[in-house]
Every structure is written in C-alpha cells, then in structure tokens.
Amino acid sequence: MKNDERLTDGAVETEEQRGGLSRRSILLTVGGVATLAAVSEVAAQPISERPPSASTGRVRLVVNGRQHELDLDPRRSLLDVLRETLDLTGTKKGCNQGACGACTVLLNGRRIVSCLTLAAMHDGAEIKTIEGLETNGELHPLQAAFVEHDGLQCGFCTPGQIMSGIGCIAEGHAGSPDEIRFWMSGNICRCGAYPGIVAAVADAAKGA
C-alpha cells in the first residue's frame, strides 16, 4: 500500500485494493452482511430510533510509519480499524473488554489496549503494532527473545505480550522477574507460557 492513500471505512475497499477475494475478505464481507442484519433488527426497537453514527471526518493515523486517512464510524475501536480496515491482523482480539491484553499496541509510544479506545479519538496519533517491529527482515530483539525462550505455546497472546513487553522495558520496569511479572500482569496467557515470557522480557531488557 502506498503512503497517504485514503481508505474509506469497511471491507469492500480493502478487497479492491488487494485485487481479488481472499479468504479473509470473504469472511469480512460475510461478517458485514451479518452486521447489517443485526442493525435492522435493532432498528425495530424504540431504543435505536437514532440516526446512524455520522462519520467524524477524516482521521489521520500513522501506523508503523505509514500515514492513513480514514473516514470512520465513531463506534469503531482502534483494534477493529487496525484489523479490519488496515488489514493488520497481527494485533489480536481476545476479550474485547480490556482484560486480556491481546490487543496491546503502542499509541504515541505508550502501551494501551486498542479494544477500549475509539479510533476516531486519535487523529494524528502514531501507532506501532507487531507488524512494525521487524527491520529489514531482522526480528526485534524482544521477538527474537520470545523465540529463544519459548515464550509462547499457541501464540495468540504473543503479539500483545511483545508490544506490552516493549512498553515494560521502555518504562524501566523489567529489572527483576518479580517486577516483570507485576508490570506484565495486564497480559494473560492461557497456555501458561509465563516463565518463558518473563525470561524473554528479562533477556531483552539486558540488551536495551
């Protein structure tokens, strides 16, 4: 994708840009139909006699160094925009309520959970996701440390763990295993790979 290209909100544009139907874009399209059905169902109830959300105007996001200009429904979380509009599916949706940390990204250099913030509130922000870590085919040192220390089993929480680990190291809270455990407690790993995760963060912190 070129820099500065303008994307409209939704799946169809993504599909056109990719020049064909992939499995993912089919899923997105089907998902879109399901969403429309749900909306019209709700529309029969008095509560939703609300006009549809108006676009908030163009929102500029710099994601992994690339600038995007987007027209967004204000309801969309930063997580959903990253995954569904920008096709950056490395950032995972776990609980979608801020409890698991799978959606952790860096927003203006600070780790946040992208599920609990509205993308439209971040005009001009710089966002870094797991896709933005590698440079010239080289893994980021913390990515390499996760490989080295077996910091994962199924891998679903790993992008969030790594983005959170980068924040933890940058904040200066990776001085001991106990400190790492406390300052990484916003990231849940249901496989229980915690010993490897703590070792990986500790290892990468030494080189940071």
Binding site: S53, T56, G98, I112
Partner: protein, 325 residues
C-alpha cells in the same frame, strides 16, 4: 454498540456548554466504551475532552494538585507525588494494568462504574442499570460485594483504589459547571445506593471535574495502601485499606483510614481513627481499633469472610504505615 455522535472540544467552556445540553464526556474511555459495547450505557452524544488543558500535576505549597485528565501512569510516576504522597502513587499502581493506567484519567477513575457482574448482564435485574428492576446480587453471587453502606436495592462496591486513598487523605475536587465553580471533599462525590442506586455521584448536570487537590500533612509520608485480592496483581480488591499515621515519640497523634472493596463507596473509618489517637504503635491496639470498622456491617450470603478480612487488612495496613518513614 448503538450509534452516537462524537465531537471534540478544546475549551472548558465549550465542554460545559456541550454537557449542559445532555452530551456526555469521554476521556480515557476505558469504562465507558466497554459499557457502551455491552449497551449497558447508551449515550447518544459524546464529547471528547482529551484536548482540554487539564493534565497538569503541580505542587502548590504543601498541596498536590492533579488535573482531571492526568493519566494514572503519569500521576504515579510523578516525582512530587512519590515524595509528598506515596500512598496516592501506591494506590494508582495497584489500580489497573499498565495499559489501562496509560489510558485512564483521574477524573474518569473516580467516576468509573461498578463491577457487579449483574450490572452488565441484561437478563438479570439490576437497579443501577434499570431502576426498580430489582437486585440479582442480594440473593445471588455476592462474594465480592459490599458489607457497608448497602441497601436492599444494591450492594455493589465502588471499584476505585485511588479513590480510597483520596478519601483517606481528605482530598477535595474542583468542578466547574454552568453555574460556576465549586470545591468539595472527594468523599462527598459518592452517593450511598439507598433507594436510588442508579444515582452514583453528586455532580450537577453540566459539571466538569477540573482537578483533585490533596492537602499535605504530617502523616502523608507515613502512609500506605494495602490491597488484598484473589491474584497478586491486576485484580479488584476483596478488601483494601489506605492508612496514614502521624507519629511522635512512638505515639499516634493523628490517624487517617479509609477502606475499599467493602463499601458501596470508598469508606472512611473515623471511629477507628479516633480509637488510635494517643495510642502507641502496637498490634493489640490496632486489632481492638480495627474491630470498630464492622459497626453497621451487613454481610450477604457469600461475603461473611469480609467480616474477618476487613479488620485484618486494617491491622496490616496500619503496621505498614507505622513502619514507613
């Protein structure tokens, strides 16, 4: 999530004007977005106040003044906060995950909604979510619920940690609304549920929190926060205690104490405080005083354990405060 409009404001005046016409503020959004997604909260118009100049943390004389939009992380990491009010820093760090602390503002933290599971469960009655529908927690799963300040209509605890510290330290809040500015104790922000559990705070329509002010005192450095919970970190309190002691020659001159996880609002314990004044730093004294915290306690079917855990937590917090210097 139901449709809503989102606008941004860049002045306090514009924010108050927007709120006066029924719009709702959004700052960090960590509570609100979650509840909107579940359609537990359904605002039709939001005003993004993050661009307002209310993030400053400053020291005025012996007071610490925290702008309403200051993030939990920044407050906890501020050198002045750590020096003057370690209790505030400690309660903030214990208050949420690092990611959420990077997002959540102090104003939003104080106004966060309850974590009672029935509040977000549309097929269960909840007087907070839907007034006069009943309370599923009173005879339901209530191990995490309050034993103090409850009514037959609601027993949800206030979930904030830093609010417990602020209530202990006699912090005040500065708010501005269409009728001007006023200042009142943080303790008075929170209502008891009574017959109207859907009314949670005492802000007037259109009012915006500008800042929280924490007065310095001889006890503010000898002050600690203890949080007891099911996990070692990133979990709501079963019981928590904020204790500040002013001690001279081994004798307590002044004690300030508030507890969390047990009350429908952050719970100040003035009877316990009085029982400590003039007494030595002694575990037996702490134990006797701590029993007074149970005055008026009404346990539910699942939280009798708090009758024991509360005084023990108080005793430990007082010991920690006594050892701090």
């Amino acid at each position: 999530m139901l449709p809503f409009t989102l606008e941004k404001v860049t002045s306090v005046q514009a924010a108050i004007a927007a709120a006066s016409s029924g719009r709702r503020f959004i700052a960090g959004g960590t509570t609100l977005i979650d509840l909107m997604r579940e359609e537990v909260d359904q605002p039709a118009h939001l005003v993004d106040i993050n661009a307002l100049p209310l993030s400053e943390i400053r020291i005025e004389g012996s007071d610490l003044v925290i702008g309403a939009l200051a993030r939990m992380t920044d407050i906890a990491a501020h050198a002045g906060v750590q020096r003057l009010h370690p209790l505030v820093a400690e309660s903030l760090v214990e208050g949420a995950s690092p990611q959420l602390r990077n997002m959540a503002s102090i104003g939003g933290n104080l106004l966060q909604r309850v974590r009672c599971p029935y509040f977000r469960m549309h097929d269960a009655p909840c007087n907070k979510r839907s007034p006069n529908s009943g309370c599923a927690a009173i005879d339901g799963l209530n191990a995490g619920h309050a034993i103090l300040g409850t009514s037959n209509h609601c027993a949800a605890t206030h979930p904030s940690d830093v609010a417990v510290a602020l209530v202990a330290l006699d912090a005040t809040m500065q708010v501005r609304g269409p009728r001007g500015e006023r200042t009142f104790p943080v303790e008075e922000l929170f209502r008891l549920p009574g017959d109207t559990p859907h009314l949670e705070h005492t802000l007037l329509p259109g009012e915006l929190i500008l800042a929280v002010r924490i007065p310095g005192g001889p006890d503010s450095r000898r002050a600690r926060y203890l949080k007891v919970r099911d996990r070692a970190s990133y979990e709501f309190a079963l019981v928590s205690a904020a204790a500040a002691l002013d001690v001279e020659d081994g004798v307590i001159r002044q004690a300030r104490l508030a507890v969390g996880g047990v009350g429908t609002r952050p719970w100040r314990l003035r009877t316990v405080e009085k029982a400590l004044i003039g007494k030595p730093l002694d575990r037996k004294i702490f134990e006797t005083a701590a029993r007074l915290a149970l005055e008026g306690a009404r346990p539910l079917s699942g939280n009798h354990y708090k009758l024991e855990l509360l005084p023990r937590t108080i005793v430990r917090a007082l010991e920690m405060a006594g050892e701090a210097a």
